[in-house]
Amino acid sequence: MASRVPISVKVNGVRRDAEVEPRLLLVHFIREDLGLTGTHVGCDTSNCSACAVLLDGKVVKSCTVLAVQADGKEVITVEGLAKGGRLHPIQEAFLAKHGLQCGFCTPGMLMSAYALIRANRHPTEEDIRKGISGNVCRCTGYAKIVESVEQASRSKNW
């Protein structure tokens, strides 16, 4: 077995030190080593983006990044959105607009939407559809998801 590698990753603002096998995927580090199970494994084949997290501010598929590659970087997971017991405006909007059915894709949708709105405070419907084009909702609830993202972008509470 390949030797373990020390890593230090800032996750949701907290520094986490660990020794990991090089083949450990970031998603498994987040879920199993850190216990942050909000990030979901959907397809496990880099297609669905249920596992989306922010890595140094960019939304990525955490099943397609090695944990060692996150060494020295900053990760934000869905657990990092709410602050002080208050839901983030993105989460509020998904709640208000019924932007989820089964909810499995939701953590990834939230992270893609969060990255989209941070980069573009006033996205058009087309911008939103492009922004979430990598995230698959198997319930096909896209209409409500797009409405939720649109509503979130209008929130003053960012």
Partner: protein
């Protein structure tokens, strides 16, 4: 799914990375964005003993025009290529392709260097580089060498890099007046591999005739294909001549070599090539005229 076990190194300099590759022979593999390689590892279609992660090497991520070239560092992320104003304004064929590779999350990590050097015939940038007549710069133990895109793609997942060489730069000839290009791809859904794709770059003469054409095809053969006979067929012709355009598209379809698979039959894909080459040629000419 877990990848097979491997050792991992993240060198800080190019010479260190090359030394690691040299010392391990065929057992080492370079990882850049990882958006093709990590899925392959998870499916156990690749099992390198050592992964050499080049992401921590400084100075390989740039997009700039200098001298007679557009130079793109191998670690430029696809999202950065997509956002580049130089590329959008002056090299729209590259911008076209950057928008349809994978999905936004893949493009945040996936690199231009990886897309080209992975050697997957379904990747989009190889055809674009063939159409543009690009050159690829490889660094190895003895220094750097330049390889023409037309000599780079050897076979499926096989390119003209030695095991101890790393692609460091993609060099595209600086845009000449009255030139333009376009990349079109048919895909069944976002982030799927192409059914087929066509890259066309043209340079028009002052009278509007086609002086030079570069044509690359995606996903219709063991490698990206340079449609040389189709290129030659249109030179000297009037781009608005529809019979010349039909001949161009027919020849490109003949030069393609698609397989029947879940994305369609070989005959269907040849028809798609005809359609895409024709449309991409028209758009390329329109862009070239807009640029005079």
């Amino acid at each position: 799914m877990l990848p097979p076990a491997f050792e991992y190194a993240a060198p800080r300099t190019l010479p260190e990375a090359i030394e690691l590759l040299k010392s391990r022979g065929d057992g080492a593999k370079v990882i850049a964005g990882g958006q093709s390689l990590i899925p392959l590892l998870k499916l156990r279609l690749a099992s390198p003993a050592l992964l050499v992660d080049i992401n921590r090497i400084a100075g390989l991520n740039y997009i700039e025009e200098s001298g007679d070239s557009l130079r793109i560092g191998a670690l430029a992320r696809m999202a950065e290529v997509e956002a580049s104003s130089i590329i959008r304004k002056k090299y729209p064929i590259i911008h076209d392709a950057s928008e349809v590779i994978g999905d936004p999350l893949v493009r945040n990590l996936g690199t231009l260097g990886g897309n080209v050097s992975h050697g997957d015939p379904s990747n989009d940038m190889p055809a674009v580089m063939l159409a543009l007549g690009a050159e690829l710069v490889a660094a190895g133990p003895g220094g750097s060498r330049t390889i023409k895109a037309s000599e780079f793609f050897i076979d499926t997942f096989s390119v003209a890099l030695n095991h101890d060489e790393i692609l460091t730069e993609i060099r595209v000839p600086k845009r000449s007046p009255r030139s333009g290009g376009c990349y079109l791809k048919l895909e069944q859904k976002v982030a799927d591999f192409a059914v087929a794709g066509a890259a066309v770059q043209v340079r028009l003469g002052s009278g509007g005739d086609c002086e030079e054409a570069g044509i690359g095809l995606t996903a219709v053969g063991p490698t990206a294909i340079k449609a040389r006979r189709a290129e030659a067929s249109i030179v000297g012709k009037d781009p608005s001549d529809r019979s010349a355009l039909k001949e161009l598209a027919d020849i490109a379809a003949e030069e393609s070599d698609p397989s029947t698979d879940i994305r369609g039959t070989s005959a269907y894909k040849r028809d798609v090539v005809k359609l895409l080459v024709g449309r991409a040629f028209d758009s390329a000419c329109e862009r070239a005229r807009g640029d005079s």
